[in-house]
């Protein structure tokens, strides 16, 4: 029961972070600030969701931690493999997401896009 509550909290917070990032992606005034918003989805949202799935894979139904505690080493293997895959998914998401957005910011800068300031109304070039 406690495991379900913990997983529920983690997944709920992760979903909330994802939606927050996406709303920021829609509402912010120019490309550079939208990159900040999408960064929330890429790092915090993905991290909390995968962390919730990790807790479920370890301690939920058929989890590897409960199987190891009861002494069934063979039954723990699928859950352990899933946890390794989840950790590598998170690692790739964190590394590749931030690198891609950094490259995108550099490309936008090289193209001549100027960040939005409050006095002038968005001097973005249109393509």
């Amino acid at each position: 029961m406690i495991v379900e509550v913990v997983v529920g909290i983690l997944l709920g917070l992760g979903g909330l972070a994802c939606i927050t990032g996406a709303v920021g992606l829609l509402r912010f005034p120019d490309v550079y600030s939208r990159m900040h918003a999408s960064g929330v989805t890429d790092t915090l949202g993905a991290g909390l969701v995968v962390l919730g799935l990790l807790v479920w894979a370890a301690l939920g139904d058929g989890g590897w931690a409960t199987a190891l505690a009861e002494g069934h080493a063979e039954a723990a293997k699928p859950g352990l493999l899933q946890s390794v895959k989840l950790v590598s998914i998170l690692f790739f998401l964190w590394v590749s997401g931030t690198t891609a957005v950094h490259a995108l910011a550099k490309a936008a800068w090289l193209d001549g896009l100027v960040p939005w300031t409050r006095d002038e109304e968005g001097a973005s070039s249109t393509r």
Binding site: G15, L25, W109
Partner: protein, 98 residues
């Protein structure tokens, strides 16, 4: 099960909002950013759906997606600015371009 359903709904809302930005975004960089966000949301969609459907063996697909998303985004950026992305110093905007 219901917890995974809530997470699925949240991820689907994220995908829909990212798609709106991809369709609307005035510059090309808005759209590239939105596609990147959409790809991350798809990775989370696949991972959570595996646990929702009781078959979490398809997490490999989420891993493949995370890599494909990265490669696709970098391919589009290379197409736009092939020599410039490797440069170490940056001039102010407008003085150095493709």
């Amino acid at each position: 099960m219901s917890v995974f359903a809530v997470a699925m709904v949240a991820v689907m809302v994220t995908m829909a909002l990212a798609l709106v930005r991809a369709l609307r975004g005035p510059t090309i960089f808005d759209r590239i950013l939105a596609v990147n966000s959409f790809g991350t949301a798809t990775v989370l969609f696949i991972s959570v759906h595996g646990y929702l459907a009781g078959r979490p063996d398809f997490l490999d697909l989420a891993l493949v997606y995370a890599l494909m998303n990265f490669i696709g985004t970098l391919a589009v950026l290379k197409y736009l600015h092939a020599p410039g992305l490797g440069a170490a110093d940056l001039a102010p905007p407008g003085e150095e371009g493709p």
